[in-house]
Amino acid sequence: MSEDILVAKNLVKTYTQRSGRFGFGATQVKALNDVSISLRTGKTLAVVGESGSGKSTLARCLLQLQPLDSGEVLFQGQDLAKLQPSALREMRKNLQMVFQDPFASLNPRMRVGEIVGEGLLIHGLGSATEQQKKVVAMLKRVGLTEVDMQKYPHEFSGGQRQRIGIARALVLQPQVVVCDEPVSALDVSIQAQILLLLKELQQEMALSYIFISHDLRVVRHIADDMVVMYHGQVVEHGAVADIYAQPAHGYTQNLLAAIPGKRVVNG
């Protein structure tokens, strides 16, 4: 039995949306409606749901990139939602994020070396040469080279950029990594590479992942536990194998039935 490294309790987040013609009206959208999840140490928790179900809001709220309306996020027993900004920043080196769109999440005006090294600089970890060394080691680990440090993001393909994003997140040696649809913008072949890389790194660095995805085939492959979100609520949670074998909620059943490729003859 492993312990829970990150626990979220009763998260609520409401957006006010302009509605009606010309946006004169306002409606409340409950992006997170009493969401509770827990991530076991060294495991992967997948968050599954359609667009608009609150998956990405959950990710951002867990890392306090967005303020919560109510609820608490416990990381190693500390409530992140109540931390002062400076303490939170300190804490963030343990909690990193890999973003969905590798084309939008890297600053086009920074060199790759700077992008990856920025976290080390901010947290003041080690001297400049040590930081440099760490960046090089991390880039090599994700399959890039030292030469790439001097390049700009636009010089890389989508898969390589996602590797840069992973290196950026992992160079700080975090304990929890939130991956927000890290492979949905990639080709299947590249997707397989990135998934394998994430799995290897998890073993090497004892990482715990929160893996947000709408692709149930990918989830089946990478995750240990999963929660299914629907309209801002968790409708089902449990071990991946159990849920795939016996989906209890109607929405989960629909999701599983919608996986393409059920007709594959073999292979």
Binding site: E50, S51, V188, L196, R220, V265
Partner: protein, 303 residues
């Protein structure tokens, strides 16, 4: 000019679309072929899936069929033979813009990948669906309105939404509008360029079902571009696998998915995660490429 190639075959026995030795390159670099000697055909009422990674030339092939290649690109060689039912077979590459325009949207229609960017944001969806009906069939007024309403109904959108603007619809609904637009004139060939890639799985399943229903109902031939083998397994009759601008394997769905011959097809299939999670993912190992290149070199050397 329409070239009539009807000599010994009758139009019925011919495939709906036949690509013959199509090659495309950038104008400035005519030697670097982006699509290299691609030939395949689409039967009436069947779906041919073109599968490949980004950059393999699948979209370029589709655009070439439509005559929509950008100005920086050129078609070096090849024919695109379209079987225009009673009017005989025409080579689309030999047509002038005027005659192409008459075919596009009427006999050949296309669904683009991004439903968010391919609809005009300042026109109502009803207007956009009706546009091709007015252009090609001359429908106006009440009759146009009724036809648009029935098309919307066919793709599962309440007909009242005809007066909505694209931003008022969800991604899935927008893609349905795109489909309604493309099938408005009941084309005999529908080209779909990754129509579901940007959508959720549940919506994707709906759209795929809708497309295959429409295909059966209207007896459309479909050229379906995707990189998802799961989608291929669901809707394809025939499969064409492209790699770096060339076709590496082609055959029926059972042949290609069940018994892939080419190492690239095998590799591509191996990196698709399965729903049961039993399969070990394998990223593509390009070792076979090196082998093949070495082989090619030796063959050349011998020659």
């Amino acid at each position: 000019m329409a070239v009539n190639l009807q000599t010994e075959h009758s139009a019925k026995s011919l495939p709906l679309l036949q690509l013959e030795h199509l090659s495309i390159s950038a104008r400035k670099m005519p030697n670097r072929l982006l699509v290299n000697d691609v030939s395949f055909s689409i039967e009436v009422g069947k779906t041919t899936c073109v599968v490949g990674e980004s950059g393999s030339g699948k979209s370029l092939t589709a655009l070439a069929v439509m005559g929509l290649l950008s100005r920086q690109l050129q078609r070096n060689t090849g024919k695109v033979l379209f079987n225009n039912a009673d009017k005989g077979v025409v080579d689309l590459t030999g047509l002038d813009d005027e005659s192409l325009r008459k075919l596009r949207g009427d006999k050949i229609a296309m669904i683009f990948q991004e439903p968010m960017t391919s609809l005009n944001p300042v026109l109502t969806v009803g207007y956009q669906i009706g546009e091709s009906l007015t252009t090609h069939l001359g429908l106006k007024g009440e009759r146009l309105k009724n036809r648009v309403a029935s098309l919307l109904e066919m793709v599962g959108i309440p007909p009242g939404r005809a007066n909505s603007y694209p931003d008022e619809l969800s991604g899935g609904q927008r893609q349905r509008v795109m489909i309604a637009m493309s099938i408005a004139c009941e084309p005999s060939l529908l080209i779909a360029d990754e129509p579901t890639t940007a959508l959720d799985v549940t919506v994707q399943a709906q759209i795929l079902k809708l497309l295959s229903d429409l295909k059966t109902r209207m007896n459309m031939g479909m050229l379906f571009i995707t990189h998802d083998f799961g989608v291929v397994a669901d809707i394809a009759d025939n499969v064409v696998v492209m790699f770096r601008g060339e076709i590496v394997e082609a055959g029926t769905r059972e042949q290609v998915l069940g018994n892939p011959q080419h190492p690239y097809t095998k590799a591509l299939l191996a990196c698709v995660p399965d729903a049961e999670g039993k399969k070990q993912l394998k990223p593509i190992d390009y070792a076979w490429l090196a082998d093949e290149e070495a082989e090619a070199v030796t063959v050349e050397g011998n020659a």
